[in-house]
Symmetry: C2
Subunit: 389 residues, 2 copies
Amino acid sequence: MKGFKFAGIRAGIKKKDQKDLGMIYSDTPAVAAALFTRNKVVAAPVLLGKEKIKNGLCQAVLVNSGNANCFTGQKGIEDAIACTKIVAKSLDISEDFVLVSSTGVIGAILPMDKFETGVPALVGQLSENHVDDFADAILTTDTCRKIVTQTGTIGDKKFSIIGIAKGSGMIRPDMATMLAFICTDINILAEDLDACLRKANETSFNRITVDGDTSTNDTLLALANGAAQARVTDANSKKVFQEALTKVCFELAKMIVKDGEGATKLVQIIVKGAQTKQDAFKASEAIAHSNLVKTAIYGEDPNWGRITAAAGRSGAHVVPENMDLFFDDQPLVLKGNWQGAEAEKKTALIMKNNEITITLDLNLGQETDSFLFCDFSVDYVKINAEYRS
Amino acid sequence: MKGFKFAGIRAGIKKKDQKDLGMIYSDTPAVAAALFTRNKVVAAPVLLGKEKIKNGLCQAVLVNSGNANCFTGQKGIEDAIACTKIVAKSLDISEDFVLVSSTGVIGAILPMDKFETGVPALVGQLSENHVDDFADAILTTDTCRKIVTQTGTIGDKKFSIIGIAKGSGMIRPDMATMLAFICTDINILAEDLDACLRKANETSFNRITVDGDTSTNDTLLALANGAAQARVTDANSKKVFQEALTKVCFELAKMIVKDGEGATKLVQIIVKGAQTKQDAFKASEAIAHSNLVKTAIYGEDPNWGRITAAAGRSGAHVVPENMDLFFDDQPLVLKGNWQGAEAEKKTALIMKNNEITITLDLNLGQETDSFLFCDFSVDYVKINAEYRS
């Protein structure tokens, strides 16, 4: 990726022997746009970031894992600002162009000494080839790094996008314990980048759920440094970039759900035939969040009763006698009637797959919405019961 | 209990060798009131019950476990009506005075032959002393029967209330996979019984959660046969009855949560100091439903970050810097500040108890609400992954 450098090291913030400090650096100040958590209990770096993003430029992003710097009061804000200063000094750039981001345990004070020593070491590691190190450094309970790359062409000019994310618990719409960083070399105005990012977020990160909790630290940040010759100048070029960006966000979102804490299956629920978009959203969201549905999927049980019952309590307008329900292409319920033991047998086989699409057709209208979610396993409980110990 | 008889037998509806058919019978037609699930996917007996309760009288209730008679279409309705007829014939009473109720697996057709043979056998077992049999017959994944008795006095006249409930999964506000039957010998008008029942429900069954799913079959039914001399005639006598009824409902609700699928701990979350009643409700509901909070409690971890984060995403007006958080009487956060390792140590000891009260004071106003909930264990997942297999 032209003009971007990455680094990731172990600074000693995490107890475990894992990388915990990462940096993205752009050779020149990049156009920047960001979306943050809507939780009212919000981490210090998010409070700071919301202010700093207003200038629309960013040259360096520092990310630590192992400590969320959340619920840390005035001290947390001061620490986040101190981190910014350390970065600005180490890179010899303006602190106006530095953003910081944190993820990990809530309520613990940042170990500032680790940043004092870690940041200069991190700067020494900056390289175009160290994307993997950065991707590793931002992980918490994730079991694998999450990187998506995409290229596109505007006229005969190429552009690239790279997206790096973390997140596997506390995932639900309106952002999650999710950090996602998008770097692109396209030439784009800050307001266009912002609009594209919001649109991409709506159908990707805002349509996934692991456990229904929203984090205090969620951040989706996009940097565009204009190092490529491709340029967003009109509706057409914007559309090309939008498609590429949405694809990167959707793939990252999918990777997050797939790596959901304890997840064994990736499921897409599609609700179609709804009278209103809101109904489609409500029904698909209720199904994706239902613990009874999620545990049934873990048990490889095509428990259509729980799925339709979740739609029934969602607040969406539904009529049981109109419902069709499919697992992949296999119908199990048609017009409210269970299709019998043979159909259930075929469905049960489909449930053994790692990726399953469930389609609920309400047969009441034309609107559709969908969610990506994962099953709910014994390991999810174990991971979250033991997280702090 | 004067004038009420009970029975519970094994009719062969469940695969397991357990009681699965129960009956409550009143010597005379009793004044009746009922509340039903708000789920739009609703079981046949509920559809029928909603109509029949309108006449305000009931003499016999038939309850089966093992089959919910839900998502069974027109056939389900016909079967529920057929059950009513069998009961009316066996008891030689009007079918207008017969209610039926079902709980168990969704989507399976009722085995009518078991009812043909079971109901007459059940009638033969009716006795004032068979409450335990009835209470056993209505259980599904419950691990224990749930019976609460209460007496009261109006003037010098005594009255009694007995409540019998089932439910341990699919429990959330707006009713749950919960069946609760209240019998009382008080003399009361149908409209007063209905009003008292609604009020009692609001602070009991509508403030509990096990897993956040609402069932298709929830029913809360009260019968008052007037066999005692105590009579609700004015505001004062109504208040006495209301208090006793609310107590019965609250104790039953508590038993349901305590017996929550896989539950190891019973927790009451109290949110106080909210600006509005709605804020108090939203914050307490979000905490009680948070899987991250529930798994932390299972892990005996006083994870205040997750509790405050759940309040933060609830939509309630909260200010982190104002929050106080207590586990029983032990403060862990005061005015947004963590109270240190010593306080956390004390809190961790409290987390080892089977019953815990968590109080979140928002310090923004005067309103309060509370929820009863249970922790989320490895066994919950196991129970619900394997339910149909």
